[in-house]
Every structure is written in structure tokens, then in C-alpha cells.
């Protein structure tokens, strides 16, 4: 060590890049290695700190005074480079600014408020489940897990029918924009397309685009009540559109995948469809679509004896924490019979996923409708991985036999 004046422990580092394609199929064995390396590991290929153990990850994502969110939700560091888009007013902000917006979203997305949504979700789920059961062979992503949130989420937010495919395109741009040095590698076509998609999204977030009694219009009610201003309302509607579709689609897809490759558990759930809620949360523990939550240190500090600089990026690997053997027995086993409460696949603390009860309701409607009808199901071909952003599948071919 060069600095003999402190007790700080020498920095532990690795050149391995968790975002590299090398780890697309199996990031979990890398996480296990990095969990063993130390409480905080310098990821030299990206220039960020990584935290991999359950206790450490929890501390980083809940201690918002020490690890702030205003430096951006991705690797791009807003203290050091210009953000691609105006930062989120809920996700990329700290208290006290964060608090009133969180309270508004909590109210709109609370279990009580959502009871009104349940019947509509179940009706839509029945339609899709009937269709795939009738086909017998189907793609569980493109014909099932994808069309469902792409229909019910924009419906609930209050968007018109036209142009909804822009939502997935927008999500992809947001993720590219959160990458390190995001300005590099965008072609003229990318920039033009991004501008078009952003214009569409911004327009959709305006008061006039949103149906009455929707999530969106309730956000403008909060603006009318003086809780937030008109611009913040527009930005909060944007958060619904960024956060709600792709994550849910992949969590549902990943649930079907893991049940398909564990046939005895697949049989259990076909005979007892009430297991869907537990299976969905076990998927969020075992194979969540989001693997990292990103913070910035607010000042020079020590974490577990290691010195971090002010505004350094600290990446909390929630998907690694959820596999930490100190927290979970047999962490690498998918087990729909375990009680997964307390996983952090949705994050936790003041920035924990505010839409998680909608996601649970969507999953239990769609997967519940499927398993009520299915006698058995299995993989029928090779699943194709989704490559950018959320962890999941682009294609998941299944065959299903109907209950008689």
C-alpha cells in the first residue's frame, strides 16, 4: 500500500466485465467468484465499484444519504458526463425531492387502488391463455409474456392504442443512454430514431393524451392539487412508460422458462395454480430481469475498510445478493416451494420498485390463467436470449397440453 496513514484495506479489483457477452448465459458463477473476492470490488473494465453480497448490497441500496441516486440510474455518471435525457424525477433523485413523488406513486399503485384493475387484467389474461392453449405450440415470449404487459400497462396508464410499439424502442434507447460514454457508437439513424421516439413519448406524457381515471390522469390530479408541478407530472408519467413493460414481460418469461426446465415443479404448479405468486417471487430472486441497481457515493468515504472517492459509481448486484449462500439456503436452486419474501429482485428501501404490486398482479393473472388450463407443458426448441438490457428471452418455444 502506498498510503501508510490510513487503515484502509487495499483495493480488490478484477478486469472481468459482468456486462460482457461472455457472461450472458451464466453471470451467476462470476457473481459467486466476485462475492468471495471482497465486500467491494473495483471493476476496472468499466471503472465502477461492484458490490455482490446480500448484506452489502442491501446497505448500498437503502442508505440513500451515503449512496445517492442523483448521479444516474446507470453506468453513465451524471456528475461527470451529460445525461442522454433529462434525469428521472423519481428514480434519479434523492429526498427531500424524491419523497412527494414517491408518495403519489405509492397512492396510485397501492394494493387498494389496484383492486379496480384486477378484473380487466384477468379478462385479458383469459383471452391470451385460451389462445395459446388452443394452439398447443406457441412462443411464450412473443405470443404471451410480451403482448400482455404491452396491452395492460399502457391501458392502465391511459395511452391511446396507436404507436405502443414505441415503448419497447424507447426502453432500449434509455438503456443505451445509461451506458458509459453513451455518446459513442450512435449512428445518424440511431439519433434520428431516438429523437422521433422521444417526441412520441413526451407527447404521450402530456395531460391531453391520457384517458380519464387512468394512472396518468391521477398524476395530473396530484399536479392540480399542488403536490407537484405540470412538468414533474409529465416526467412521472414517463417513468411508468420506461419501467413497466419490459421488466414484467421478462419476469413472466423467466418464470415459464425455469418451470419448464424443472419439470417436477412444472407439474406441481399445473396441479396447484395457486402457487403462481410464490413461483413469480422465486423467479425475482433466482433470475430477475434487472441485475443491478446503481448509486453514487456522496463524498469521499470508506466502505468496509475500502476507500471510495466522492461521486464514484457503486453498482449493487441485486441478482448476486439473491444468490448469496449467507442469506439463502441452496441459493442456486430454483424452488417454487421456498418462501422467497425478502429477496431484493425489485430492490428495496425508498427506491424499491413502486410498481411491484402491479407486476405481481399481472403475473398472477397471466400465469394463473395459463396454469388453470394447462395439464402439462414443456420446452419445444431452443430458447433465444434477449441480448440488451433486461435479462430474459427473445423467444421461448413451448408446447402445452390442455386440462380435460
Amino acid at each position: 500500500m502506498t498510503d501508510s496513514h490510513t487503515d484502509a484495506i487495499a483495493k480488490v479489483e478484477t478486469s472481468e466485465n459482468p456486462w460482457s457477452r461472455d457472461f450472458l448465459e451464466d453471470p451467476y458463477s462470476l457473481y459467486a467468484r466476485l462475492r468471495d473476492k471482497g465486500p467491494v470490488v473495483w471493476l476496472s473494465s468499466v471503472g465502477v465499484w461492484g458490490v455482490f453480497r446480500d448484506a452489502d448490497v442491501r446497505e448500498v441500496i437503502t442508505d440513500w444519504k451515503t449512496f445517492g441516486s442523483a448521479g444516474g440510474g446507470g453506468i453513465s455518471n451524471y456528475y461527470r458526463e451529460k445525461p442522454w435525457r433529462e434525469p428521472s424525477v423519481i428514480f434519479e433523485v434523492d429526498p427531500p425531492d424524491h419523497t412527494p413523488k414517491r408518495a403519489i406513486l405509492t397512492r396510485i399503485l397501492s394494493p387498494m387502488a389496484l383492486t379496480k384493475l384486477r378484473a380487466r387484467l384477468e379478462a385479458q389474461a383469459d383471452i391470451l391463455a385460451d389462445e395459446v392453449i388452443r394452439k398447443g405450440r406457441f412462443d411464450a415470449i412473443t405470443e404471451f409474456a410480451k403482448p400482455f404487459p404491452l396491452k395492460v400497462v399502457p391501458d392502465a396508464v391511459g395511452l391511446p392504442e396507436e404507436g405502443r410499439e414505441n415503448l419497447l424502442a424507447y426502453g432500449a434507447f434509455v438503456r443505451r443512454g445509461r451506458a458509459h460514454n453513451w455518446q459513442q457508437g450512435w449512428s445518424k439513424e440511431d439519433l434520428d430514431e431516438a429523437e422521433r421516439v422521444v417526441d412520441w413519448v413526451t407527447g404521450m406524457c402530456n395531460r391531453g393524451s391520457l384517458a380519464p381515471n387512468s394512472f396518468g390522469s391521477q398524476i395530473y390530479d396530484a399536479a392540480d392539487a399542488g403536490e407537484i408541478n405540470e412538468h414533474e407530472a409529465n416526467m412521472l408519467v414517463r417513468s411508468f412508460l420506461t419501467a413497466g413493460v419490459e421488466t414484467t414481460m421478462h419476469s413472466i418469461g423467466n418464470t415459464l422458462f425455469n418451470l419448464a426446465i424443472n419439470p417436477e415443479q412444472g407439474r406441481d404448479i399445473c396441479s396447484d395454480p395457486s402457487l403462481v405468486k410464490q413461483a413469480f417471487d422465486e423467479t425475482l430472486r433466482f433470475d430477475s430481469p434487472v441485475h443491478v441497481i446503481v448509486r453514487n457515493t456522496m463524498q469521499d468515504m470508506e466502505f468496509r475498510g475500502i476507500r471510495l472517492g466522492q461521486y464514484d459509481k457503486v453498482v449493487a448486484f441485486i441478482a448476486s445478493a439473491n444468490r448469496d449462500p449467507l442469506r439463502w439456503p441452496n441459493p442456486d436452486r430454483y424452488d417454487l416451494h421456498r418462501k422467497p419474501a425478502g429477496h431484493i429482485g425489485f430492490g428495496t428501501g425508498i427506491h424499491g420498485c413502486v410498481g411491484q404490486m402491479v407486476a405481481r398482479m399481472e403475473a398472477s393473472a397471466l400465469l394463473g390463467a395459463f396454469f388453470k388450463r394447462a395439464a402439462s407443458f414443456e420446452l419445444d426448441g431452443t430458447p433465444v436470449r434477449h441480448l440488451v438490457g433486461a435479462r430474459g428471452y427473445a423467444s421461448l418455444p413451448l408446447t402445452v397440453k390442455a386440462k380435460t
Binding site: 419523497t99 397512492r107 399503485l109 394494493p111 429477496h343 425489485f346 404490486m357
Partner: protein, 107 residues
């Protein structure tokens, strides 16, 4: 370690030691106390870790945050003035002996 006394709807009492800095919800799950579901794991979203704090103990707690207050609207059993989300009650030596009553249902 400070203790919390959980009281079931049938009057059964169980005293449980919970480490300082741990939430009462986490302490209840770790000790398999029936009646705490905690579906969201402590994000103040699910309202399934609802408890009624003993009337004489209310003054020992800081009032609920605006977000907890919103989520308390969603509890399934009746909301009372002493309703709290146990995920937001952090254990401390000052809370030793706290009485926490469980509702008849969480969902």
C-alpha cells in the same frame, strides 16, 4: 437484545429478541411469527406486514412517513390510529418490550 411481544388475534403472546437496526417485520419473519406476510420485503408497497402497536407504546415511536401513511390505506384489516407497517419499525433499545398485535388477516 431488546424484545418485542407479538400478540395473536386469539391472545397468544410470544416474546422475541430482535437485533437493533433490524425491522420488526424482519424479526417476525426470522422467528416465524404467524400473521406477517411481507410480500414486498420491506418496500412499503404491499401492506401485508400490518400490525397494531400497543396503545401505551405509541408514544415511543416516530410517526409514520408520508409514504407509509399512503400504504396504510391499503391494509386489509381495519386501519386504526395505532396501525403501522412493521417493516418501518426499526428495533432499538428504546423499544424493548414493545407490544405488537397482529391483525386477523393480511390479504
Amino acid at each position: 437484545m431488546p424484545k418485542v411481544i407479538f400478540v395473536q388475534p386469539d391472545g397468544t403472546r410470544q416474546a422475541v429478541e430482535i437485533a437493533c437496526g433490524t425491522s420488526i417485520m424482519q424479526g417476525a419473519l426470522a422467528n416465524r411469527i404467524p400473521g406477517i406476510v411481507a410480500e414486498c420485503g420491506g418496500s412499503m408497497m404491499c401492506a401485508t406486514c400490518h400490525v397494531y402497536v400497543g396503545q401505551n407504546d405509541l408514544a415511543r415511536l416516530a410517526p409514520p412517513s408520508p409514504v407509509e401513511n399512503e400504504t396504510l390505506q391499503s391494509v386489509v384489516s381495519e386501519r386504526s390510529a395505532n396501525s403501522r407497517l412493521s417493516c418501518q419499525l426499526m428495533m432499538s433499545d428504546e423499544l424493548d418490550g414493545l407490544i405488537v398485535c397482529l391483525p386477523s388477516t393480511q390479504s
